[in-house]
Symmetry: C2
Subunit: 408 residues, 2 copies
């Protein structure tokens, strides 16, 4: 079985909005062994949509359209489908079910009633798709063995409606599984060369995703094959995150939980990104006490207790400051392990001895503290993202080895 | 002039990686009035790439390919181009320039030398494109009036190489401009209805991007037209972010700067996202002192000084706690204005009276403090993102009006 995922919208082609629905859907389809042949983004001209339908119907098992179903003048999907099918549109009573959800809100009710003439319209040769979170009805039909589903582009609505219409794609089964293995500190090529049996196994689908200092392997296939490949891979590397951990943040939280350790951070140039990464994961409150974002020198001193002499003598971006920040985060949050970050994310603020990208990391346990330094490439946003990964990677190693020895 | 943007890679079609290069490029092309006809993602089979080239060459002015130029077995772009052009490949000496950058690092030098047989190969009927940040050479050629550029998929390399090869797209000119106008607290339809002259002006390209409580209008066109449309739009709304501010975070920083006010935050369920949003912007250190991420109740008490009785009597997710957290953030960071966030991001932790999505926000100035509450829809990640927007929106209104009156 295969599928084609498409998105319709000028805002996608003009770069004002990033298309994410196809990525979401591709991941779930691929997990069920369904090949995505293509992802296409086209403009919201009726002719382009009709052309897209003509090109793919009869040539793929599943065709999902995203976008162009709203109430504004540039929402053309429902009219294009009707023209393609050679039929009229009718107003479907399923729209009343959507209105009934806002019956206690006269303003919203009036607004939705006004959109009935667009959002409730369904081609007579197609069927409506209920929208559980938004107001535009979707459209579905089957032609020439292609199942076509047109859904709103709003991600929350797209996700809810695909889950509702394609429950078998989202259900667990015992035929398809996937594993994520995250290895630290080695380049992509070295990793691939060390596990040729996995890379060259045609029963598996292996993706290698480098994001230094980590490389993620995603292995998909039948349960026994994936299981064996995962065991073999794990046996060949030292710094590999625990089974089931799909991110550094998950591994940090996992390791803290099994060690009954509380963790905390202090952040300067990352501005809260480490705390945000850890708290993205539900249940993080069990072990994560918090992060002190101390952007100003005064805050570093007053909140974390960094000695004014350290900042005066070594600067806020220094090994000494990183150590003191980590110790401060440990103390004020009363935690067992802490990581700190202070660096120059740019574009300004770099010097010859400390260029943009220079980031110091501190690590503290109740016994000792240390620091390490990296010069990270990229723009401000990339430097910050990379700094978060290094901080979490070394915090994980610290928790895992119960010892502070930065290595990456 | 028009363009087609394509990406090649199984990891994109299998959903393990989100394609972002086309979005980056589409934004810049569109700013220069160049229409993007389509964005396509295809798999890394040679035949698919040849098919793509055949379909678009001669039908678009510019065709950019992204991905498939690396050293691994699934990198097929250079071989597909050679086959399409009906020619052999040769090893281009431009690769030596790349090697010379790592001449002091024997490990990397050896690794790159090993990849010469793939990454330096160029079809004889095409030219190499220098890669200033990575190691794979790009490929360019012109055929049937279509300029074709094939670049690595790594975003940092793709960006650097498009800037190098298409400098006219990235240069400022006096023919094309764009404006971003962010309006708070009104639905998309109401905004569109209030500025029909702008929406219906065919000399302009208007995108409406709702992300409640904000709606962003992006207006592109000739300088005079955009200028007039922006003035008219701004005159029709009250809660509109200052000219030039392309995000809530920028507006908060702008307003703090002109008021010579220092700002800070305290965050529970957003875990650092507000601090991260503010510090994403270079120069934020001028006014932003920091954010105390206090995830545990103990940290709220110990670091922010939230009275234990408040947490015991009203809970950590309460108006009283939000007020106290904002006052605490103001005090410990010695700032003029502070915002706090405490809520239930889910998926667990909801109750009948405080369901998942319940978020309390506190605002504090040196004179007073207040709080407001929202029940935000979506999953954990969406609730957190929305909470950040509400916090920044009301912090901006507070700074702008020099008064604490949550309204959204």
């Amino acid at each position: 079985m295969n599928a084609v995922l498409t998105a319709i919208g000028d805002e996608l082609l003009s770069g004002v909005r990033l298309e994410k629905n196809a990525n979401f859907m591709a991941w779930h389809l691929h997990n069920k062994g369904i090949e995505v042949k293509a992802i296409e983004v086209i403009s919201d001209y009726e002719d382009e949509i009709i052309n897209l339908l003509s090109r793919w119907i009869g040539k793929t098992d599943l065709l999902i359209l995203s976008g162009g179903l709203g109430p504004t003048h540039d929402d053309k999907t429902r009219y294009a489908i009707a023209k393609y099918l050679g039929c009229e549109l009718y107003s479907d009573s399923m729209y009343d079910k959507i209105l009934s959800r806002v019956k206690d809100n006269p303003d919203r009710l009036a607004r939705l009633e006004k959109s009935r003439s667009t959002q409730a319209m369904i081609p007579v040769k197609a069927q409506p798709v209920y929208n559980p979170t938004g107001s535009a009805l979707g459209i579905k039909f089957t032609k020439d063995n292609t199942q076509v589903i047109a859904l709103p582009g709003v991600p929350m609505e797209y996700e809810a409606m695909t889950r509702q219409e394609l429950p078998e794609i989202f259900a667990q089964d015992n035929k398809h599984v996937w594993a994520s293995i995250i290895i630290l500190g080695l380049p992509e090529m070295t990793i691939a060369e060390r596990i040729p049996e996995v890379i060259n196994n045609h029963a598996l689908h292996v993706s290698i995703l480098p994001a230094f200092p980590q490389v993620e392997l995603i292995i998909r296939g039948k349960p026994d094959d994936v299981d064996e490949a995962e065991k073999l891979t794990r046996s060949r590397f030292d710094d590999v995150l625990p089974k089931g951990c799909k991110s550094l943040a998950e591994a940090v939280l996992y390791e803290a939980k099994i060690n009954h350790a509380k963790i905390s951070c202090s952040e300067s140039c990352t501005g809260g990104l480490v705390g945000a990464a850890l708290t993205e994961i539900a249940g993080s409150s069990e072990v994560f006490n918090g992060s002190a974002v101390t952007y100003s020198n005064n805050a570093k001193h007053k909140i974390l207790g960094v000695d004014g002499n350290i900042i005066a003598n070594f600067g806020a971006v220094s090994k000494e400051c990183a150590v003191s920040m980590a110790e401060g985060a440990l103390r004020i949050y009363d935690s067992d392990y802490a990581v700190s970050i202070t660096g120059i994310a740019g574009p300004d603020g770099g010097t010859e001895s400390k260029p943009v990208g220079t980031v110091y990391f501190g690590l503290a346990s109740r016994e000792k503290a240390c620091a390490f330094m990296k010069v990270l490439p990229g723009n401000r946003s990339e430097i910050r993202t990379r700094a978060v990964r290094f901080a979490l990677a070394e915090l994980w190693r610290t928790l895992h080895n119960k010892n502070l020895e930065p290595k990456l």
